[in-house]
Point group: C3
Chain length 387, copies 3
């Protein structure tokens, strides 16, 4: 109850802060005059990404049987808190000014990374703790973006990561895993994560929305003349991972797991991110197929071990879908991208990994101060009319 009071004040302050700095943002932008036609074309991709964030990630996480209302509400809140915070911070005057839609797409990228992080701890925190998670995540995300993508401190060099394999997917997944360390109790270990025939299908719905719009995510900020090739690459990588996932799932498990299909089929999209505008279609196929295979192996073999030996529960398996395939994608650039600054690429990956783990641990600790739901993976503790 006390914490709730603290939270309320904290939150109102945050809202105020958002309001003010967004206002500031508006004033800054008036002087810009970036070609509207190109921005309208960018906008189409921005809206595709938004479909991925809300409908895609939201429904993908509905698979947890009795936690559907919470997962969808958490998605709404994570998106709604991260976008304005990101826009506010990026327009404080420290950073380079950008077109409104470009800036907005970068904000969507941070929301995507946050949703991935949240997937690791889904169901084991209270609803308002997702808001706190968002408030804490975004500044760390921006810091990593600053260091690795913009090379602000000139310590990295040029990293190939157009579609965010490293800075969006791997960062989010590792942040989430690290946060899970503080947010998982011994008791949590004994409670199974269940799905049923209806929630499974919602999950595939989310997965399909992500699959369909993934090329817009990767090509969002690619120059117009490189868009066609990039898009076809992403689709081919997704075809590769989908086929590989089916084969791997049957081969390893004997029967197909629909959770493998819903998740690992997307690993091609995760892995192609770093090289989506450089790879040939054949390379895209191979990257996708490898990513689908290792992701499925992760879901089928590693997830249980992770829980047993590392005492970490990764609710949505984000380490298998976004973590490992993201790093693999970043490394694939070494083979694929001609003239790549290989030390920079490796430094970029290393910094992202370290920063994500440290920031995640710290954030997990802070979020854990705000309590713990009475019953995990369950809507009824916080929702009216939930059975």
């Amino acid at each position: 109850m006390k914490l709730k009071g603290i939270f309320s004040k904290f939150f109102l302050m945050a809202l105020f802060f958002i309001g003010c700095s967004v206002q500031l943002f508006a004033q800054q932008n008036e002087s810009e005059a970036i070609s509207s036609i190109l921005q309208v074309q960018q906008y189409d991709r921005a809206i595709h990404i938004m479909a991925m964030l809300l409908i895609g990630f939201g429904f993908l996480m509905v698979f947890v049987k009795k936690y559907g209302r919470s997962a969808l509400t958490a998605t709404f809140l994570l998106v709604s808190i991260s976008l304005p915070i990101y826009l506010s911070i990026k327009t404080l005057g420290i950073f380079e000014a950008k077109g409104e839609i470009e800036q907005f797409i970068l904000a969507e990228f941070s929301a995507a990374s946050l949703l991935i992080a949240a997937g690791a701890i889904l169901g084991r925190i209270k609803i308002f703790q997702y808001i706190i998670l968002g408030l804490l995540f975004v500044p760390f995300y921006i810091l990593n973006e600053l260091i690795v993508v913009e090379d602000y401190f000139q310590i990295v060099g040029k990293v190939a990561d157009t579609g965010g394999s490293i800075v969006i997917h791997a960062f989010g997944a590792l942040f989430g895993i690290a946060a899970a360390v503080s947010l998982t109790t011994k008791k949590d270990m004994e409670i199974p994560i269940q799905s049923d025939a209806t929630t499974d299908k919602y999950s595939v719905l989310g997965s399909m929305v992500l699959w369909v719009f993934w090329p817009s995510f990767c090509a969002a900020l690619v120059p117009a003349d490189a868009i066609p090739h990039t898009i076809v690459n992403v689709f081919i990588a997704l075809c590769g991972s989908t086929l590989a996932t089916y084969i791997a799932s049957v081969s390893i498990r004997g029967k197909v797991s629909i959770a493998d299909i819903a998740n690992a089929a997307l690993a091609g999209g995760v892995a192609i991110g770093a090289t989506c505008d450089f790879a040939s279609h054949g390379q895209a196929m191979v990257i996708g197929a490898i990513a689908g295979t290792i992701s499925t192996v992760g879901f089928a073999k590693l997830q249980d071990k992770q829980q047993k030996f590392h005492k970490i529960i990764d609710t949505c398996g984000v380490s298998n879908l976004h973590g490992i395939p993201g790093i693999f994608g970043g490394l694939a650039a070494i083979v694929v991208v001609k003239g790549l600054d290989i030390p920079a690429q490796l430094k970029g990956i290393a910094i992202t990994v370290v920063l994500a783990l440290v920031a995640g641990l710290l954030t997990g600790k802070i979020v854990s101060l705000f309590g713990k739901p009475k019953e995990i993976y369950n809507d009824f503790t916080e929702f009216h009319d939930a059975e």
Copy 2:
């Protein structure tokens, strides 16, 4: 049975009428030569709006437990009757000629308003009565559009309502509320409107589709250079209303209501409509937050009172989502839009309110002549294989 016979003839006539006048429409358009590239860009927004109409509104209304098949069929029919009727009337030669896509987007706006109106009486009329509702609604909608938006009779002046807070949302909601007066019996008052865990999630799906594509709705007919700012405004307003809805829902009810989240989270989109191309991002945030709050208060506090004291059942709570936030959005323009013709804005709102109420009452009376379902909120009276 007799009424069904009358209906059939009526309908065939209507179909004929549509066919003929749409034909006429086609001939007229041949002489136009509006830039195809801009129209193709408009088309992308037109299709986003269509996703909102069918999938968004359709699934948002699925929350009524045993009425899902009916709600989806009604959505299909309301869209399919209103688009051709609107296009037919607008090309009778009285009105200014427009580009085909622009004309079509205006038709989609009328369908949106009609779906809002239908939300108020959902479940308490027979399926074919939705068609009659559509046939009667569209001419009234066009009349209001003519008076308030186009100022055809030169009695209003220039009203700020780019995204239709007033003429689409408030008009539809008040029309529906007024129609509900004639279409709600005493017996209806005793029958609860129930949802369950699966239908709730369908409802959130509809809500998310509306949220994602809302910027395309508001920016549909905005000039290309104002689109980026408009779009970011709409998203920020939605972020504001989503956060505010969660806080208000918890604060008022103790626990979160998923129906609040699915509905009131959209109130920012409703309210920003009137000022979406004028507001700064900070103002958009504030408008969204206020709209989310008042909408949630409406769902949590007013809806029961409305039913008790005014004897009106508003099935989907459209007065709380579209009515009050729509009028609030129209009034917000007084603060936000520099150089606004304030008397015009107030006249526009007043005329819309009065016309919607009168037209709704009249339409409700006519629709009620065509009977009443044996059991309300239930598929089985009209659908095969419905349990």
Copy 3:
């Protein structure tokens, strides 16, 4: 078990083949320089079509109660196998070079046709047999495309079929029906195909996704200046078929069947394909209304007879949704398209019908060699955790 081994090898070979030839494809494309801006606009339609393929067709097929996981997985696999195969074959050097997105859209068309074919036998083959179906289907599809659309052998002439009424819809449906002959046993005849309230709604979700994005399918490769008229035509045809479906369903059955609504409402989109860029809006309305009516008659009257007298089970009723309306659409061009080469149009239809039936029979035979599921229309034989 043995067949599974054979299959694995077969599949790895296929994957290799895809990889190689797609690689080849990439090298070829480098020399092309087609305007990127137009390709980006095409891309928006390409992604709409992808939404139709995965989410639209996928969920439309979820109506089979206990076969949802399989239907969605099959959709994933059918799309993922057909796109690379199509792209590989079309870039072997025999065919005319095209823009990357245009080529990709043509690949999506083949995937659409394949999904239609699969709809006829849905639930009566094993998951991996869908992959074999895809491998066999695509070359036949390309052959028909070569003969009828590109008139490679100069035996047909110019056929009007912009949106694929004939070469996509009718071809896929007839291929599927013919394949069903070999893939349906006497025992299958006795097993009912069941749906429930939840799966029905998933099916309508798929249907609505198809409805919304259908104009992008028809206008995908239409020149920019013809797009607005084409798009409005497709929407009007869909309005016509939706209204007609409701009337026909009530008139024939007494009550509405939600399966009629989910399916026959789309028949206007199927039928307008051949003439979508030529018809006037009035003609589009009439074509849509007729298509909706005959499709509903098919579902309500012909489907049972087909099963009884021809011993064919058409799981999704593709002959009623894609077969008959597709051929009707192709014939409608004779009335609608001025200066049409009528013999060419008839030859095009005839060749498509014959080729689809022969290829379907042959393919059905081959696919049947790979076995038969122990229990049809049921997830549990191949999926973990399926009830």
